[in-house]
């Protein structure tokens, strides 16, 4: 449905040129919710705006629904108002001088999506019911709460039934609880409408919950594209790994290659770790290994047998409601771990840490 090839965009300031997007490539299938995830300044919003037509890329090609909307460095280009996409901004961009109804009715009343008068009311009400705001029809826009404004923004984007929906951190301005609720609602809505969406966010939890596929961006480039699970479980680089969830990253040297069903081993600051190593590696090669805190098994000093077991001291244990997040030091090196809320862990406690070989993941 959407195809982006080799997208480049630079910004000029009085001091220097900043390359915001450097060669982004991705494809979004119909009906898919595609996430652009990354820290601030990574170029995800710029990419989204390029697709919407609000920024003119310096190079690359963009297709929406089989039609070229940008190519040949701008010689072929479809202007913003003709692209037929819906958009939701982080700031909602609700027009304060109009009521809720008028805000949502705007695309149907003027411009390229104009429909006859009698249809407007019906479709606006349909859109408002999608987001659950029917009773607020006549309320002036500034008198709405943040969450309500966000819904109006969504209704407005959907009312003219665009094929593509672009969302730029729409939930960032909401409080945590509302955010969590809206996430689920949003996904449900988009799936019901079978709408193709590109969603930009820096919140990795959002990315994991909402999306069908995620593209992690960093410094203007896409580092990895995959399903949330793939990204989470098999990150291809430390940047990706560090951004999604918490990760323990260690430098390691290959010590032994896997042979005959036996796992390979690497040397790290913690000590020797047995783990699965993918084929093309040689002894002595330097790699990065990653394992997630929740995969680290922290047990009593007495128990545990198994591979990759080390004695450790608990340095910190922070209760976050559903569990304890711990930092334990192994060989004077801190790693992150987790412990269920039923167990009590305190700082200074001596424990045994096990890192099962199957959870150790190699990053190249």
């Amino acid at each position: 449905m959407i195809r982006v090839v080799n997208l480049h965009k630079d910004f000029f300031t009085s001091r220097a040129t900043h390359a915001a997007v450097r060669g982004a490539d991705f494809e979004v299938n119909e009906g898919e919710i595609f996430m652009l995830l990354g820290p601030s300044g990574c170029g995800k919003t710029t990419t989204l705006r390029c697709i919407a037509g609000l920024e003119k890329p310096d190079d690359g090609e963009i297709w929406i629904d089989g039609q070229t909307v940008f190519a040949n460095r701008g010689q072929t280009t479809v202007p913003v108002y003709k692209r037929g996409v819906g958009m939701v901004f982080q700031s909602y961009a609700i027009w304060p001088h109009l009521t809720v109804f008028e805000n949502v009715a705007y695309p149907l009343s003027y411009g390229i999506n104009k429909v006859p008068r009698r249809q407007v009311r019906e479709r606006v009400q349909k859109a408002l019911s999608l987001v659950g705001l029917n009773e607020f029809e006549d309320r002036p826009a500034p008198l709405l709460s943040g969450g309500q404004q966000q819904r109006v923004s969504l209704a407005r984007a959907l009312v003219y039934e665009p094929k593509v929906l672009l969302l730029d951190e729409p939930l960032s301005n909401l409080d945590a609880k509302l955010r969590a609720e809206m996430r689920v609602e949003l996904r449900g809505l988009m799936k019901r409408l079978k709408i193709t969406a590109i969603y930009v966010t820096h919140d990795q939890e959002e990315a994991l919950v909402l999306s069908d596929r995620v593209a992690v961006m960093h410094a203007g480039q896409i580092r990895q594209i995959g399903t949330p699970r793939d990204i989470y479980v098999s990150p291809k680089s430390d940047v990706v790994a560090g951004f999604i969830g918490m990760a323990n990253l260690l430098q390691a040297r290959v010590e032994r290659l896997p042979v005959d069903g036996e796992d390979g081993a690497v040397t790290t600051v913690l000590g020797r770790l047995k783990c699965k190593l993918p084929p093309p590696l040689s002894i002595g090669a330097t790699v990065t290994v990653m394992f997630r805190p929740e995969d680290v098994v922290i047990g009593d000093a007495s128990s545990h047998c198994g591979d990759n077991v080390f004695p450790a001291t608990v340095e910190e244990a922070i209760f976050v409601g559903s569990r304890f997040q711990c930092q334990v030091s192994v060989n004077a090196h801190r790693i992150h771990g987790e412990v269920s809320k039923t167990r009590v862990v305190t700082a200074g406690q001596r424990v045994m840490v096990e890192i099962p070989p199957q959870v150790i993941h190699l990053l190249l």
């Binding site: 630079d10 000029f12 009085s14 040129t17």
Partner: protein, 403 residues
């Protein structure tokens, strides 16, 4: 990618282009225009006999009807309430049903533009314009007025005073203005003083007295040169530079340089003891407030008679209508409309005001000099049209402001 400097350069290039284009724009319009000289000599024109006159008038009226419109000026000081009565009377007199637009115009301000129009060979804004001796001399000299053919005949037809022989045509249009400009009104310059602020015996006797330090800041005079410009013919021995110095010292003594009527107002207010003004203001003020504390007096050395003329403009859009207007404004019929409110005199008229005007001058034995009085004055008038003369007037105007 362009550097900032390249961007700036191209931008300024574009801007420079635009400026260049507009600098060149006036070029095609600036060509060499010559100002035709129309200073005719003194001719005596006698009134022609009636039968031809009526025919000429009818032809003129027919032409005016065809033109369909008239745009004329009246004195800026005349009340706007005069416009409708004048228009109606004019149209009725000649049976014209045309569009008439009359505007109050300050000739000092308009005439230079009129000259510019003529030089640019552009059509005239107004068909008929009025101005005093000096102003009219400027536009006649610059070729901005057109000759009225057969004017004496037409005048005899239109103006009963001329037809009856009471007034000779050359009383209305003569000297450098013959054939072009027609006098319809006059005033005489006078000193008007506040009887509460200064007594009659303390007043200055001659214009030269105005340089006396005891009058410093006590009087006002107008920015125009009519109180000083006729001096060259008033004295037997006259030195231009010396006179300029007199004007300058008087100018430095002046309390304010403002228009005559404003000067009179502020004299009544008490701000000034006296003002250099003209006769009609006393009449106007007494008409509104008979008890106003003012009085008028003539100067002993000279008092300029300031006459006002109507002329038809060169390249007027409606010359025939303009001619009718210009000639009609000399008639008693038109005078009856404007004289009651403006209270200026018509030298050849016979209304009560006109007679009082003449008697007043005679009784006071004041020395009143007009630009068309004699050869000497007419030469001065013509001289004022030359470059040298204009420079001198400019210097006088600046000297009035003390420069």
């Amino acid at each position: 990618m362009r550097t900032a400097r390249e961007v700036r350069a191209s931008r300024s290039r574009r801007v420079r282009w635009q400026i260049l284009v507009f600098l060149l724009l006036p070029a095609p319009f600036v060509t060499d225009f010559d100002a035709p000289q129309l200073l005719s000599g003194d001719l005596a024109a006698a009134a022609e006999s009636p039968p031809k006159g009526k025919q000429a008038l009818d032809e003129l009226v027919a032409k005016a009807k065809q033109e369909g419109e008239l745009v004329a000026t009246i004195q800026s000081s005349w009340s706007k309430g005069l416009i409708q009565p004048l228009t109606d009377a004019f149209k009725k007199r000649f049976g014209l049903d045309i569009k008439v637009t009359i505007a109050n115009v300050n000739s000092a301000q308009h005439f230079p533009l009129a000259i510019a129009e003529t030089q640019a060979r552009a059509p005239a804004t107004y068909d008929a314009v009025q101005g005093d001796d000096a102003e009219t001399m400027q536009i006649v000299g610059a070729g901005a007025t057109q000759k009225v053919e057969n004017w004496a005949t037409l005048l005899a037809e239109i103006n009963p005073l001329v037809r009856s022989g009471k007034v000779r045509p050359d009383a209305i249009s003569r000297g450098p203005f013959q054939d072009h400009s027609f006098m319809f009104m006059a005033n005489v310059k006078q000193l008007i003083y506040n009887t509460k602020s200064i007594s009659e015996k303390d007043l200055p006797r001659t214009h030269r007295d105005l340089t006396d330090p005891k009058y410093k800041g006590k009087f006002a005079q107008p920015p125009w040169t009519s109180h000083w410009e006729i001096a060259p013919v008033a004295f037997d021995k006259f030195d231009k530079d010396e006179w300029l110095e007199v004007v300058r010292r008087a100018g430095k003594n002046t309390g304010a340089v403002i228009g005559e009527s404003a000067a009179v107002q502020r004299t009544i207010l008490g701000e000034f003891a006296f003002a250099l003004a003209q006769d009609r203001y006393t009449r106007q003020i007494f008409a509104k407030d008979p008890k106003a504390p003012i009085a008028a007096r003539f100067f002993e050395d000279y008092n300029e008679l300031n006459q006002v003329y109507y002329s038809v403009r060169t390249r007027a859009r409606h010359p025939a209508a303009g001619t009718l207007w210009v000639l009609w404004m000399t008639t008693p019929e038109s005078q009856k409309i404007w004289q009651p409110s403006d209270l200026q005199a018509v030298p050849y008229g016979d209304s009560q005001l006109d007679r009082e005007f003449k008697q007043n001058i005679e009784k006071s034995k004041a020395r009143v000099i007009g630009f068309l009085d004699n050869e000497k004055t007419r030469e001065l008038l013509k001289w004022y049209r030359t470059d040298e003369g204009r420079k001198y007037l400019d210097a006088v105007a600046r000297a009035i402001r003390g420069e």
